[in-house]
Assembly symmetry: C2
Homo-oligomer: 377 residues x 2
Amino acid sequence: MSPRSVFLLSTALAFAAPAAFAQEAADPTATPEAAVAEAPGSPDAELRAEAAEWFQPIPRAAELPSGRPMTQPRIELGKTLFFDPRMSLSGVFSCQSCHNVGLGGTDMLETSVGHGWQQGPRNSPTMLNAVFNAAQFWDGRAEDMAEQAKGPVQAGVEMNNTPDNLIETLQSMPGYVELFQAAFPGEEQPITFDNFALAIEAFEATLITPNSAFDQWLMGIDGAMNEQEKRGLRAYMDAGCQSCHAGVNFGGQEYYPFGLIEAPDASVRPEGDVGRYQVTQTEDDQYVFRAAPLRNVAMTPPYFHSGVIWELEDAVRIMSSAQLGTELTDEQATDITAFLGTLTGEQPQIVHPILPVRGETTPRPQPISLPANAPAE
Amino acid sequence: MSPRSVFLLSTALAFAAPAAFAQEAADPTATPEAAVAEAPGSPDAELRAEAAEWFQPIPRAAELPSGRPMTQPRIELGKTLFFDPRMSLSGVFSCQSCHNVGLGGTDMLETSVGHGWQQGPRNSPTMLNAVFNAAQFWDGRAEDMAEQAKGPVQAGVEMNNTPDNLIETLQSMPGYVELFQAAFPGEEQPITFDNFALAIEAFEATLITPNSAFDQWLMGIDGAMNEQEKRGLRAYMDAGCQSCHAGVNFGGQEYYPFGLIEAPDASVRPEGDVGRYQVTQTEDDQYVFRAAPLRNVAMTPPYFHSGVIWELEDAVRIMSSAQLGTELTDEQATDITAFLGTLTGEQPQIVHPILPVRGETTPRPQPISLPANAPAE
């Protein structure tokens, strides 16, 4: 996000929010209670007080939990890398291909299409607000966004590149040499795989979506949610959804078996994907996944790690029976779905980067050659 | 491009250019002579006067030659469509995939990769400054950008969609219904394949790259090109390159046989692609192609319709022998290559659009399903 966009978002939020909150929001150590405006006379005061025990609004800007620096040159470099298809062996796919800033950070496919038109085994999770997650990937196998960024670029089914080829590519372009020098000043050899990941992490940490209707309501604006959405919030908390989907990001913090009470249909939870068990080899982790963060969830079908459920209300029903053993009434399911729609925040306004020009020694893209057999460009 | 970006570019150009030109530039009927500042005392006056007989600077803003309106809602809709991968059957490819605004409007592949990982037969041409071309595609088979926009979306090797599925997709999303209504006010059914193409055309006509070093020099700033680049311009005109590559876009106007004097190597001009002959079935059109526009050419390797030449200087040598029967000296080839680098203009600053949320009846993407056999996301 450009500094100007950040400024505009900040201004918009400061305008919408009570002044007390506007100062608290940037402080990640602030307690939820402190973040919510006191409005004891409001008809929503009771519901809001209960909600504030579970949820926090998205702040105007985020810091990396590691404390690693988010300098503007590092963010700019990260944005450039994120949008550059030459980070893949084929030259076809960039991070943006599967984590589209225009599609809520997803690709809206059941599972992503990668190198050689292979389809990956799991639905592409969003990087929007991922800075608020305790760990990354559906099974939490990457402890932060920097570690995550090293995955898809090497995965044979995704970008199919190697760190060596990636570094050679970056070093061959004077534009990238300058960007890395500016982002990692004083380092003798700034172009490294680690720094590649750190820059992407810094950029991704700017991709947050503040000022959703729910956040406005949580900060004291009664009219930011309508009656149905408030009923939905009530039903969400009565059913117990927030025991897994809470916090700033409505999830992304803990691991739970998918099918805690009742195993979902095998089409929704394919037998072959045992989730976190693949990471820990611990029997208790069979079919265990990270509770998906629900911010912007109405924008990002299809749902679940399998990506086979296209309607949010269907996903709500499945979660309710599989995780909570609850059969929701039609009204409850509809109301909760309406409530989840209030979690859609302001989407990042990203100016598409102009990518560095290739150099004479830049490795050429290596898509698979197939015979030309169709209309010409 | 946002109104603000247009404004900034205009401001930048007005600042760099003599005031007399700043007023002329927007007038497409202005003669080249009128567009160039008079500077009779300049050491470059003679070279500039000769260049002005052949070349015109890119104006600050372009109009469609057809006179069709370029309203802001139409441009916004066009931008949204341009970046939306759901315009392809698979949900994987958008216009932006092969005409990347960050890569000079190309994909930097020899030939593009499309649906099912097929490779197309020709190198992806840029849409930057395409509004200045007399016709579109390598063989000029589309008379304007609107007609062009209907091609890739239907090509089996590219986006592999059908107009019917496209229209159904657009009609199913309330966000698109609104965008089309705003872009085509008063039309009873604004979502049509024709209007889809007209909106993309309007957006693409904003994708121009003014204020290159050459344009600044042409407008009277001696120091905008260095001595080598000026020698390169001299050599370019002495060799006769401008007989095909002239005008605002340094090409894009006429058709010529590739191999006018001497047929290039079959690796550069594959036998199976007979160019414009496929369009006209006229013997004279064997291996005839549109003279490629050379604006931003240093940014957009690889070269030629076959995309097999990766170094600009190699392309210069091949063209010189194939089209002009001239063997350039090493210095001439290097100087001309340096001169071509001055044709790189200001690249469009595009805020990535936030794409409409799908509706309940939106057709689902249809990539080919392959077995999942790789690391999970």
